[in-house]
C-alpha cells in the first residue's frame, strides 16, 4: 500500500463513519499532552441500558474496525462477547482500551454510553450469528491443508513460521477481512496500535535490503528503529541489519509472500476456507 492509497484508505474510513469515530475519542483525552490517559468518568447513572441507542453509538464509534453488524472486520467479531467476558469487563475495555493492541480507549464515552453499546452487543443471539459465515468450516479445513497454508502458518502449535499465527484468527478478524486477504494478501495491510501516542506501523510490510557487497534480502519487517531493521525472509529466517551498512533499503507496499487464492479457489471454496478460519478461536 503506497502512501496515497493509505491516505485514501484513511479518508474513506472517515467517510464511512458518520460523526465521532474511534480515534477522535482517543485523541480528545490525549489532546493536551498527547498521551491517552486513563481518566475517571462520572458515576454511572442508574438508567437501564438501551440497545437501540447502543447500536447508534456502535455505528459511530466501533463499526470502522468491528464491522457495522459487529461481526468483525480488521477487529474481531464482538457478538456475544459480553456473555463471555461479562458486561462490566466490556464496559471497562471500551473506556480504557487494550494497551498494546489496536483497541483504543474511549474516555469521552460516558459510562451510560458504554453500557448501551454492551447492551447492543449482548442483544445478538450467538446461535443466530453463525449464519453470517456462509461456508462450511469442515470443508474449509480440508482446503486449508490441501492449499498449502500450513507451510507458512501455525495453528495450535503446528505449521510454518513465515506468515502470522492463525490459532486465534477467528477471534481477531472478521470474515470480510479474511476474504480480502485471500484475494489480495498484500493490499490494505493492517496497522498496529492506534497511532495516537507512539506512531502506528503497517504490519507485515515487506522490504528489500541490499548490503554493500550486493547481497540482497527480501522479507517482512519484524522490527525497526532509526538505525536497525529486522526482516523475516521467505524461509522464516530473521536477518538483522545496521542501516548504515546497507547500500539500499526499499519498502515494497502491496507485496506479500502469500500467494493470491483469487483464481485458485472458487467462490464457494473461498467461503469454506473463511468459515474454517473464523472457527479458529483458540482457547477461550
Amino acid at each position: 500500500m503506497n502512501t496515497i492509497e493509505c491516505v485514501r484508505r484513511v479518508a474513506l474510513a472517515f467517510v464511512a463513519c458518520s460523526f465521532v469515530l474511534s480515534a477522535l475519542c482517543v485523541s480528545q483525552a490525549a489532546a493536551q499532552e498527547s498521551e491517552p490517559a486513563a481518566g475517571e468518568s462520572k458515576p454511572a447513572k442508574t438508567v437501564p441500558a438501551d440497545p437501540e441507542l447502543g447500536k447508534r453509538l456502535f455505528e459511530q464509534n466501533c463499526s470502522q474496525c468491528h464491522g457495522a453488524d459487529a461481526g468483525g472486520d480488521e477487529g474481531p467479531d464482538l457478538r456475544g462477547v459480553p456473555a463471555r467476558l461479562g458486561d462490566a469487563a466490556v464496559v471497562n475495555i471500551i473506556k480504557r482500551g487494550i494497551p498494546g493492541t489496536a483497541m483504543p480507549l474511549f474516555p469521552d464515552l460516558s459510562q451510560q454510553d458504554a453500557a448501551n453499546i454492551v447492551a447492543f452487543l449482548a442483544s445478538f443471539n450467538t446461535a443466530a450469528t453463525q449464519g453470517t459465515v456462509k461456508g462450511d468450516a469442515k470443508r474449509g479445513g480440508a482446503l486449508y491443508q490441501s492449499s498449502g497454508c500450513p507451510a507458512c502458518h501455525i495453528i495450535a502449535g503446528q505449521g510454518g513460521i513465515v506468515g502470522p499465527e492463525l490459532t486465534r484468527i477467528g477471534a481477531m478478524r472478521g470474515p470480510g477481512s479474511l476474504k480480502a486477504r485471500l484475494i489480495d494478501p498484500g493490499a490494505n495491510l493492517p496497522e498496529n496500535g492506534t497511532g495516537f501516542y507512539a506512531s502506528k506501523w503497517t504490519e507485515y510490510l515487506m522490504f528489500r535490503a541490499i548490503e554493500k557487497d550486493g547481497h540482497a534480502v527480501e522479507g517482512i519487517r519484524v522490527s525497526e528503529d532509526s538505525f536497525t531493521i529486522d526482516l523475516k525472509d521467505a524461509s522464516g529466517k530473521i536477518h538483522g541489519f545496521w542501516k548504515p551498512d546497507l547500500r539500499s533499503l526499499q519498502s515494497e507496499p502491496g507485496k506479500s509472500f502469500m500467494p493470491s487464492f483469487k483464481d485458485v479457489l472458487s467462490a464457494e471454496q473461498m467461503d469454506d476456507l473463511v468459515a474454517y478460519l473464523m472457527s479458529l478461536k483458540g482457547a477461550q
Binding site: 493509505c6 485523541s27 489532546a31 493536551q32 490517559a37 475517571e40 507512539a198 538505525f227
Partner: protein, 536 residues
C-alpha cells in the same frame, strides 16, 4: 572510631579534588550564572535562558564514539507512563522525578538512591489530556520544589526529602494537574498547571520559596470586561483552557518571565468561542514581582488543532539589522519557528520549520494568514503538522558557539475532526484527530539559524519524535528517538558520531550533562530507566 572514620573521609576528599560534599545549597547568584558552573545542571533548561547549552567539553567530536554506559537507575515503581524527568544536578547530588509524582535524590556518580519521596495521591485522579508523569524539579538553597498530579506544590528538604511545606494549588477534581518543573527565582517559586483540554481556567502562580505563601496569580483567560475577553464571544473564564503546562524562562535584567500557554477548549470545535481566544496558544511576558502581563504574542489565534504554545521559549541576544537585540525564540507546535523581541514582544521573524498546510504565511505582525479548508470537519480534514505539532514540549537547545537552534522536527499530518462541542467536565474535546502512520511520516533533528530560522542541516530518523536536544561546548548535539536510540551529532554539520540503544519506546526526557571529579557525564531517561554515560 568516629575520629578514624572522619580521617578516612577527609583523606578520600583530599584525593578527589575538588573536595565537595554532596547536597550543597544553591544560591540565587549561582542560578543567575548557571553557565559558570557547568559541572552542575542547576535547573530545567540548564539556565534561566533555557538554552540547554553546556560549557563542558571533555566529551567532544573526537572522543564521543567511545562513550559508554556508566550506570543505570531503574525506579522501583515502573509506571504506566514513561519517565519524562529532566534531572537537576547540584554538587554531585541528582534530583529526578519518577512517574507519577515521585521525587528521588541520587548520587550522580553512581546512580544510587539517597532518598525518595512519594505523595499520597487520591485514588480518583483526573488526568485527562495529562501524562501521568512529571518533568522535573526546581532546587533553591536547601529545598527541592515539585508539582504533583493532584495539583499540590511541595517543598522538600534537599538532604532528606522531608516535606517543608505543601500547598494545594488547585482542585484536581475540576481537572487541574501539575506535571511541569517549577521555576525558582530569588525567593519565589513560579509554577504552571495542566488541564486545558477539560476547560479549566489557565493561570501562572507565584509562591514564597521559604514559606509557601501565595504571592500572585496571573490568569491566562480574561474575566468578563477585562482586555481580551472580547475575543471569546462570551464569558469563558470557567472553560477556556490556556493551560501553562510547560516551564517558562526568565530574564533577570528585565525581571520578566516568559511562559507559553496551551490550547483553547474545546480543542477541535471553535463554534462556541468566536474570536482569537486570548491568551491561549500565546507566549506571555509576565512581571516576576507582580504577575502582571507586560506583553503577549499569540501564535495561533482561534486554534482548532490543539497546537498548544507551551514549547520552552529560548532567550538569546543577537544582532538584527545591525542592532543588538534581546530576543526570544519559540519553535511552535503549529509548524512555525518564531523570533520575537523579548523587551517589547514585537515580531522579528517567523518561518515554517516543518511542512505546514494551514497558513499561507505570517503577516508583518506575525499573525498567520489562514488557508481555506483547514478547519476540522465531521469527516476529517488532513492538515500538517499533526496534533502533536511540528515540535512539542520537549526542549530545544541553542548554542552560543554555533548560533544555531537545535529542535526536534516532526514531519507528520493528521485528520482533524469536528465533534460535538462539549461543555461539561470531564468531556471536553469537541472533536479529535487521527495522525498519519509512522510509515507516512518521519522525524528529524534540525539546526536552524537562530535569527532567521533558515535550516543549516537536518539529521533524519525513523518516526516523528517527541524528544529534546542538548548542545555542548564539545561541539556536540545529543538527542534521541522515540524508539529508544540516544545519539550524538556534530553540532556544525549534523553528522552522526555515536549511537546507543537505551531501549524503551519513549525517550521523552530532556538529556542533561554534568561533571564529577573531573569526569563528564551525560544522562538520558527512556521508558523506565535513567542511563548515564561517560568516557572510559
Amino acid at each position: 572510631m568516629k575520629f578514624r572514620l572522619l580521617g578516612v573521609v577527609a583523606a578520600a576528599a583530599l584525593s578527589f579534588a575538588p573536595a565537595r560534599s554532596l547536597a550543597q545549597d544553591v544560591t540565587y547568584e549561582q542560578l543567575l550564572h548557571a553557565d559558570d558552573t557547568p559541572q552542575d545542571w542547576l535547573m530545567y533548561g540548564g539556565d534561566y535562558q533555557s538554552q540547554r547549552f553546556s560549557r563542558l567539553a571533555q566529551i567532544n567530536r573526537e572522543n564521543v564514539h567511545s562513550l559508554r554506559a556508566a550506570w543505570i537507575y531503574q525506579p522501583k515503581q515502573a509506571g504506566e507512563a514513561p519517565i519524562e524527568s529532566s534531572a537537576v544536578v547540584v554538587g554531585g547530588l541528582m534530583y529526578v522525578t519518577e512517574p507519577p509524582s515521585t521525587v528521588t535524590a541520587l548520587d550522580a556518580r553512581f546512580g544510587t538512591k539517597i532518598w525518595s519521596w512519594t505523595p499520597r495521591l487520591p485514588s480518583k485522579l483526573y488526568t485527562i489530556g495529562v501524562h501521568r508523569s512529571n518533568r522535573g524539579v526546581a532546587v533553591y538553597e536547601n529545598t527541592v520544589y515539585t508539582g504533583t498530579l493532584d495539583c499540590h506544590l511541595v517543598a522538600l528538604d534537599a538532604t532528606t526529602g522531608a516535606v517543608r511545606w505543601d500547598v494545594h494549588v488547585a482542585e484536581n477534581g475540576e481537572g487541574y494537574a501539575m506535571t511541569a518543573a517549577p521555576r525558582v527565582l530569588d525567593g519565589k517559586v513560579i509554577v504552571g498547571m495542566a488541564g486545558g483540554d477539560v476547560g479549566v481556567r489557565g493561570f501562572l502562580d507565584a509562591y514564597d520559596a521559604k514559606t509557601g505563601k501565595h504571592l500572585w496569580r496571573s490568569f491566562t483567560i480574561p474575566a468578563p470586561g477585562e482586555p481580551g475577553s472580547e475575543t471569546w464571544g462570551k464569558d469563558m473564564t470557567g472553560t477556556g483552557g490556556g493551560a501553562t503546562w510547560g516551564t517558562g524562562s526568565y530574564d533577570p535584567e528585565l525581571n520578566l518571565l516568559y511562559w507559553g500557554t496551551g490550547n483553547p477548549a474545546p480543542d477541535y470545535n471553535g463554534h462556541d468561542r468566536p474570536g482569537d481566544n486570548l491568551y491561549t496558544d500565546s507566549l506571555l511576558a509576565v512581571d516576576a514581582d507582580t504577575g502582571k502581563m507586560k506583553w503577549y504574542f499569540q501564535f495561533t489565534p482561534h486554534d482548532t488543532h490543539d497546537w498548544d504554545a507551551i514549547q520552552v521559549p529560548v532567550l538569546f541576544n543577537a544582532t538584527v539589522d545591525g542592532k543588538p537585540r534581546k530576543l526570544v525564540a519559540v519553535a511552535n507546535r503549529n509548524g512555525f519557528y518564531y523570533v520575537l523581541d523579548r523587551v517589547t514582544g514585537r515580531f522579528v521573524t517567523g518561518v515554517p520549520f516543518v511542512k505546514q498546510t494551514w497558513a499561507k504565511g505570517l503577516d508583518p505582525n506575525g499573525r498567520p494568514i489562514m488557508l481555506p479548508n483547514t478547519e476540522p470537519t465531521p469527516k476529517g480534514q488532513l492538515v500538517y503538522p499533526d496534533g502533536h505539532g511540528g515540535t512539542n514540549l520537549n526542549s530545544p537547545s541553542y548554542s552560543p558557539q554555533t548560533k544555531l537552534f537545535y529542535v526536534s522536527a516532526r514531519e507528520s499530518g493528521a485528520y482533524t475532526l469536528e465533534g460535538r462541542p462539549r461543555v461539561n467536565f470531564p468531556d471536553f474535546g469537541g472533536g479529535g484527530r487521527l495522525n498519519l502512520s509512522g510509515d507516512q511520516s518521519y522525524g528529524a533533528i534540525r539546526a536552524l539559524d537562530a535569527v532567521t530560522g533558515t535550516m543549516k542541516w537536518e539529521y533524519r530518523f525513523l518516526a516523528p519524535a517527541e524528544v529534546s536536544t542538548l548542545a555542548t561546548a564539545g561541539g556536540l548535539v545529543f538527542s534521541s528517538t522515540n524508539e529508544g536510540n540516544f545519539f550524538a551529532l556534530d553540532a556544525v554539520t549534523g553528522k552522526l558520531l555515536w549511537e546507543f540503544s537505551v531501549g524503551g519506546t519513549d525517550t521523552e526526557a530532556n538529556p542533561i550533562t554534568y561533571q564529577i571529579n573531573g569526569k563528564q557525564y551525560l544522562l538520558v531517561a527512556s521508558g523506565n530507566a535513567f542511563v548515564a554515560f561517560a568516557l572510559p
